[in-house]
Symmetry: none
Subunit: 199 residues, 4 copies
Amino acid sequence: MFTYKWNVMPRSAGVKTKVERAAVDLFAANGFDGVSIADIAAMAGVSQGALYRHYPSKEELGWALFSTAYLRTGEELDRIRTGGAEFEAAVTAMIAHFCALYDEDSALFRFMLLTQHGFLPRIPSGSRTPVDAVVDLVGDAVTKNRLKPIDPALGAAVIMGVILQCATFHIYGRLCGALGARAPALARASLAAVAALTQ
Amino acid sequence: MFTYKWNVMPRSAGVKTKVERAAVDLFAANGFDGVSIADIAAMAGVSQGALYRHYPSKEELGWALFSTAYLRTGEELDRIRTGGAEFEAAVTAMIAHFCALYDEDSALFRFMLLTQHGFLPRIPSGSRTPVDAVVDLVGDAVTKNRLKPIDPALGAAVIMGVILQCATFHIYGRLCGALGARAPALARASLAAVAALTQ
Amino acid sequence: MFTYKWNVMPRSAGVKTKVERAAVDLFAANGFDGVSIADIAAMAGVSQGALYRHYPSKEELGWALFSTAYLRTGEELDRIRTGGAEFEAAVTAMIAHFCALYDEDSALFRFMLLTQHGFLPRIPSGSRTPVDAVVDLVGDAVTKNRLKPIDPALGAAVIMGVILQCATFHIYGRLCGALGARAPALARASLAAVAALTQ
Amino acid sequence: MFTYKWNVMPRSAGVKTKVERAAVDLFAANGFDGVSIADIAAMAGVSQGALYRHYPSKEELGWALFSTAYLRTGEELDRIRTGGAEFEAAVTAMIAHFCALYDEDSALFRFMLLTQHGFLPRIPSGSRTPVDAVVDLVGDAVTKNRLKPIDPALGAAVIMGVILQCATFHIYGRLCGALGARAPALARASLAAVAALTQ
DNA sequence: TATGAATGAGGCTTCATTCAT
DNA sequence: GATGAATGAAGCCTCATTCAT
């Protein structure tokens, strides 16, 4: 039974892994439309045909990569949100999480930033996205009177704007060094911004 | 006597204007690569060939639209920056300016947001971009001791993140109504966030 | 009555002349398909539309220029042929004529060399071409026993090859100076070649 | 066991071969600009896209065909030149070689004649062209006192003019039958012409 | 099952020609 | 009669996808 695994899975898994790594890196560098199947296959070291054994189309490849990463991030943020921490601690944890995501795989982060507008419309309504997690965190805090009444979406925009723009600046070289080092300051900034939304 | 103007100008100027309007709207809706010359020509109501009398290529059309809007915004922010107002007033004015830009032509704003990653590398170094204006505003404030010492880029990221993410949320329907109505709150949020960056 | 000439003819004639000069020069430099109507109009300093007042199409412009120059050359060679001179003298005069044509307007010569394959099929059968003149000159000489019996076309090929290849070499810089200076030598070469065709 | 060769090679090699044959024939008939990729693909019986697996552009296809044939001819003539034969024998061999080339593949010959002006500027300086071979042959003969002093280029022009104009006449139907049958006469003609260049 | 050549649709661009002014 | 912007038909090329081997 291990024979099966030995012969097929690793090879296939290897192909899939290599393709996904190549695709993320190339999409992050050149955008979805700036990358051809030939590019991906070449960087992954596989044939173009092999790629279609794992994904039915280029669109589906991109979508799988995006939705997986995006919704996984949503889950992780939701886990923070429902972890019982106070609002401040939860925001701080979320900011730290974003920083960690960026530092660990900035290509994946850049891929999401770059291609979001193409894939977001395909996200099924009802999915738990990162935005939903932050919006609900703010909404909960308002409900629980931890925060004066504000539009939860506005609060979420402020929180996410702080971290996402820092990531963008980092990508373009305006900011250097690990983002994680700035997580505490960014968390403070987010919280202060949210607090300032109310008079 | 106005016959000349009436008869000649509109033909050429009309085409260029119609093409630019169509291009911005379509790029804003579908991204640069998601729009074909045929799409633009059809929406503008002109032939595909006519487009090439005004722009030498699709790339140059997109670049002209982007760089014009982007650098004009940079100039306008620079004008606010050098207008003699205090830091708080200047940030408030900038936020209001961003909101006005969005409210007046949200397609153009969305176009810039969507296509920036494709065109930013072509911005000549030394140009005054919106980012430069905000970074320098923060830098000046630090120099003049209006702000405790912080990385100007970090301060700018925080300020721009707040407004740009709100615009993004508005585009996706998370936020409704004129952004201008929220300008004061967003200005407060930005300022509080910057202040919180230092301990 | 001279008013008419003063106002209209020179202007029109000027346009036509300028267009033809520009067209010949450009076609000679870039080939027929390598030149656009826009190129010709620009070099001639006239509008594209004006060009169509004198020629119904680009093809007709090229054809008029080619056939005029080509058939005129045919006439001139025919005049030499029927001028009563002996074979040797006639060949010598023809070679000198080719050299003069080249030296006087090498762009026109180059134009003919370059575009001949495109226009030759349109020459009406029965026209007196340069080739016909030389072929008939050789044929006459054979008939009159000035030459041992040879295929007149073969003799003509040899004569024309000598001068045309020299022109080609001159165009490509292999040969320098006025071709006219070499006319006597080329005439001798042509005659010797024709003579050598028979055992 | 030959199955592999039978099954795989012909697919790729077949396409390339068919494309090249079609391209040469069409270019020879209509000139480079008179032939579209669609024409070539149709005559070759392949799709237009398939063509681009073998050549990166139409220009490169034409260039590859031209430079290969042209430079190969240069090599062959150079081999004759350096073969140790006397001048007369070498010229005779070269003329015979030209005739053989024409008789074996007159479309290829016509292709070279027709498209030379478009491709000659791309020949790298220092390449051994057919013209160089003939020029050097004449130059050597002068150096070795086999020939009275003449401009080698002039001698080469005369030699090449004789054969190339015969080929041209053959193309246009002025001369019929195999050119090879006329090779001896043409060789005599060339030699006589060269000799006559000096008084 | 992997390969990569072939397909074919569609995109960008050029340009001869027309025509309103 | 002159102008030059607009047209529209090709032309070249790319690339996601398929498929024979």
